[in-house]
Structures are given as structure tokens and as C-alpha cells.
Symmetry: C2
Subunit: 313 residues, 2 copies
């Protein structure tokens, strides 16, 4: 399994005993990312056994408290735990100033480096890339400057077909790298063994799109087209759609419409308004539009199911 | 009962699933104060049914995260809850700048006024006073500028002795105010009825001292002398006393020594280091010095017991 999402919190801002503001832990292609960091996130990480030392990159969508107020506590705790590795933080302009001011006032002993990547662009941009994963912003429409994030696996190397390879004594372990990269093998006789005989195709790269907080914003669809797993906020049900424009949030139906139009594999809902004590109606509403919907639930893990991808478009 | 303390969190900084950083809710003479505000305090307030609207004064001892990082979330939530009343915040210099910066970045809709009382003095000073309660700082010795707080009830008015009062037709309800204030009553005949015949003494004013975080600091004893209820941090047991100087914390024995020398009524321990999974040994250590000790426990309520006050001094 190359992609797994753990929801650490998926409620909106008003605190309740059993509600947790937004934070998610994404494992993708052996990379580990934290997405948003509402108050209490570090405690949720402990509870759901997210290794603190695995987190090297934190992505903050916007600076509303229910997505951000847990960051300074986590940064301080990394210091208490004697972290030495660099920590990269991606978020709106201002995140560096406020974090540094809090560290200065608390005289926190943070011996590791924090590298801030402040975001200001209103266009989608590549903000992280290594040999395993890339991350792009998804410009959203909220009351403050906000980005979602698209996490995409890099294409994987081909798998060796060892039974077939063994038919050729000339192919040695040192040749495997080229075979995985898709190259044919040329025997000393000059005969060309097609790569397709020696390897099998890897799994298609997987992707995850995080879209919170935002109004219904169809222009994000080209950015997240064919995404395997989509989290889209659904603060309200359709009956309260009139609140969306003022508060800059979405309904479950709107989230499902984005999922359908983007040909997403699966939709996860979340960021439910505190006025709803039972959120099953969010799933029901979304399912009138899109057929693979799961409710975001604190502590639950989610993965991609390619077979469920819709066949439209 | 005129004084009741609820511990919302009493653990030190390292987060664990069942540990909560420092925060306390004090009800004293019909006033309601929040003391320190570690991350997650607003959730603890919900859990232990502390009315958000009752809190008009928050006292922050120092700007370490485990005493302070929950403040901005609580301030924001007050805004979400449409608070209109002024909120007074008492804490070290810098608290205003960092709070305002966070509010600006999050564009939080806080329509109520926040009045900051920034503290810089290294001497004990009166920082709050009304007709019911006064609050003084207790200068402590920690790695950053830190104050404890002494909350003292104002002397109460005398209670009316109605059976005796009814013996005198001339005494009317409008005279009660003077009687409660201790004045004698003069009959039209010129006869003086001593106040002691018409009223009984009120309960003695109660007091609570909050001392965290700090090294062993005997010069606070004159400030908290005869306090009814004392919370004093006890991060370590005596076996780790050598860590106190570097970390600027205290042992349970040292906390008990302060309680004994101050002739406190009761001592509450807390701020236990995360290395101790069982904290009963803190009580045992303190009881070798002082005989009325309770362990600080999350969610537990504490009150004063005058009869337990030691008879030394």
C-alpha cells in the first residue's frame, strides 16, 4: 500500500469534547507529511501513533486557528524531543514571523533548523519535489489566503520479471537498474530482448488532493483531475447552502460535484459544522452525486481504491 | 463554599495521550479566573463544564508553551461564540504582541475588547482588585520571566442575626447595610445596641496561591504566608533534585517545605515530569514534610479546609 491517509481531526472551529480541528497525516510512497495542524494535533499524533520523527514536512492550508494553532506546540515538542533534522513548513505568508515570535518569547530550545516556505501565489505551483513525490498547491477560495495541496507519487520503476531474466545468463544484477528504468537488453550476439519481456509494469502512481477550506470552486478541477483520493470540505448540508458564500465554505453536494467532475477515485468529507451532531446525512447527500464517498472520521485510515474510480469522462 | 479550584491540566510539556499541560479554573468569592492556558485548555474547559462566558480575567504565569499555547485558541473561540464582554489578560511582556499578530494573521473576527496587562516587575505587585477579590503577583524563578499569583478574598460583610434584630422594631431593612458593615445601632432613646448583638462574624477571607514554574524560592513565603490553598509545582522527586537548578523546577519535598514554612492550609502538587508514570510517590515525599497534601489531578476540584491548617508558627 503506497498511500494511506490518517485523519487526526476533521471538525470545524468550535471546540467540543469529542471534536478535533483539522489535521491529517499522509503516508505516500514512503514519504510522511502532516497537513494542517489545529490545536491538539500533537496529542492526536500520540493517540494514533504517528511517529514524530517521521515528519519532515508540514503543509498549512491557511492561518485560521482550527488549521494552525497546534503548529507552535508541535514545533516546541520536536525541540523537547531533541530533534536534529530540518523541518520544512509550507504555508501562507506570516507563518514564519508568528512562529519565530512565539519561539523567541518562550525561549524554546529548538536546536533543529526550520525552513519556512511561505506561499503567496494565487496560481497552482510546485512546492515540493523529490524522487518519490511531488506536491502542488491548489488555490482555494476562503476568507483568508488558502491553498489545498495535491500530493502525487512519482512514476515507479518497472518490476523485474525474474523468471524470464534467469533465462539469460548474460543479464547480471548490475543490469537491473537499466531494466527497471525500461531499457531493452542487448545480448552479446546483438539480439535485443525487449524490456516488456524482462519486466512488468509498476502500479500507476497514486495521488491525494486535500481541499479545505473553500467555497465550491470548479476551477480546481483541472488541477486535481483523476486524483485517486480527494478530501473536500463539507461544512454544511445543501439546506444551508446560503451560508456558504458568507463563510466561504461548501456543502456535501458541492464537494461531491467536485469529486465527480474531477473523476476522483474516492471522496472523503469533513470539516462539519458543529451544528450537526449526526454527520451520516453528509454522506447521503454526497452520494446523490458521486458513488464512492466516505465520511472523514477522527482516527480512521483511508487508502485508494482504483477499481472504484468512476468511468465517466 | 467561596473558593473552589478545578485543575484542567497539571502535566509538564511533553505531550502524552492522557496528559494535559497546565491550566486551572478558580472560583473565588463569586469571581471566576483562568490561570495559565496550555494547548487544549478550551477542550478541557468544555469537558469539565467551565462556562466560557464566566471568564473575564486570564492570568498567564510565563510564556512557555505548556502554560500558554492554548490562549490564542480560547481567544478565537470567544470570538466565534460572539463574546461582547471585555477580556483582561495578565502575563509577561510580549503576550500582547504575539496575540495580536496571531489574530491579525488569522483575521479572526474578535469583536470584544482584549485588555492586556503586561507584567515586567520582579517584585510582588497588586494587579487586580475589585470589591470581592484582589490578585497579587508572586515573583518566581524559572528559565523565563515568571509570576505566580495570589488570589485573596476581600473581608466579607458581617452576617445579620435576624432573631436578635427582630427584638428592635426601630431597625429597618434600610439599616442592614450599616449593620453588615459593623456599625452599632442607636435607638431613638439614645441607647446604643452593640453591633456584636445584631450580627455574627463572617467567614475569614480565603486565599489561593499558584506557584508554577519555579525553583525552590523561600523568599515567596512572606507573600503567601497563611494562604489557605497552595499549588506549588513539583516537577521532580528528591532523587532528581540535581536537575532542578538547570531546568528551574522544584521537587515535591521543596514544594512541601514552602507549604510548611508559609503555614499553608493545604498543598496541591503538580507539573509532574513525564518520566513518572505513577505520581503517588510525589504525595508520599511531600508528606514527610507537610501533613495536608493532595495530588493535582486533571478534572479534580479542590477547596480549602481551614481546620487542617497547621498550627506551627
Amino acid at each position: 500500500m503506497s498511500l494511506q491517509l490518517t485523519i487526526l481531526g476533521c471538525h470545524s472551529a468550535t471546540p467540543r469534547v469529542n471534536a478535533y480541528p483539522t489535521s491529517q497525516y499522509l503516508e505516500i510512497n514512503n514519504r510522511h507529511f502532516l497537513i494542517d495542524c489545529g490545536e491538539g494535533t500533537q496529542r492526536q499524533m500520540r493517540k494514533y501513533k504517528v511517529g514524530f520523527s517521521k515528519i519532515n514536512h508540514i503543509f498549512i492550508s491557511h492561518l485560521h486557528g482550527d488549521h494552525f494553532f497546534g503548529l507552535i506546540g508541535l514545533i516546541s515538542t520536536f525541540g523537547i524531543l531533541n530533534r536534529e533534522k530540518e523541518l520544512h513548513i509550507y504555508g501562507p505568508k506570516g507563518i514564519e514571523e508568528v512562529t519565530k515570535l512565539q519561539l523567541k518569547l518562550s525561549m524554546s530550545h529548538v536546536r533543529y533548523s526550520i525552513v519556512f516556505h511561505e506561499l503567496t501565489s494565487k496560481k497552482s505551483e510546485l512546492i515540493f519535489e523529490d524522487d518519490k513525490v511531488s506536491v502542488r498547491t491548489i488555490p482555494l477560495n476562503h476568507r483568508v489566503y488558502t491553498n489545498g495541496f495535491l500530493f502525487t507519487e512519482k512514476p515507479k520503476t518497472r518490476h523485474l520479471h525474474l523468471d524470464n531474466i534467469k533465462q539469460y545468463d548474460e543479464i547480471e544484477i548490475c543490469d537491473y537498474h537499466n531494466l527497471k528504468a525500461g531499457k531493452d537488453f542487448i545480448l552479446s550476439s546483438g539480439e535485443i530482448i525487449p524490456n516488456a519481456e524482462l519486466t512488468v509494469s509498476p502500479e500507476a502512481p497514486k495521488s491525494y488532493a486535500y481541499c479545505s477550506d473553500t467555497t465550491f470552486k470548479p476551477d480546481i478541477i483541472p488541477i486535481i483531475k483523476n486524483v485517486d483520493l480527494l478530501y473536500h470540505e463539507s461544512t454544511f448540508l445543501k439546506e444551508l447552502e446560503h451560508l456558504c458564500e458568507r463563510t466561504k465554505h461548501s456543502t456535501a453536494e458541492q464537494a461531491a460535484t467536485i469529486a465527480k467532475e474531477a473523476n476522483a477515485g474516492k471522496l472523503i468529507l469533513g470539516h462539519y459544522s458543529s451544528r450537526y451532531s449526526d454527520v451520516t446525512c453528509f454522506k447521503e447527500e454526497a452520494e446523490t452525486v458521486f458513488n464512492n464517498v466516505e465520511l472523514g472520521e477522527v482516527g480512521k485510515k483511508y487508502t485508494t481504491i482504483k477499481s472504484c474510480k468512476q468511468l465517466v469522462n
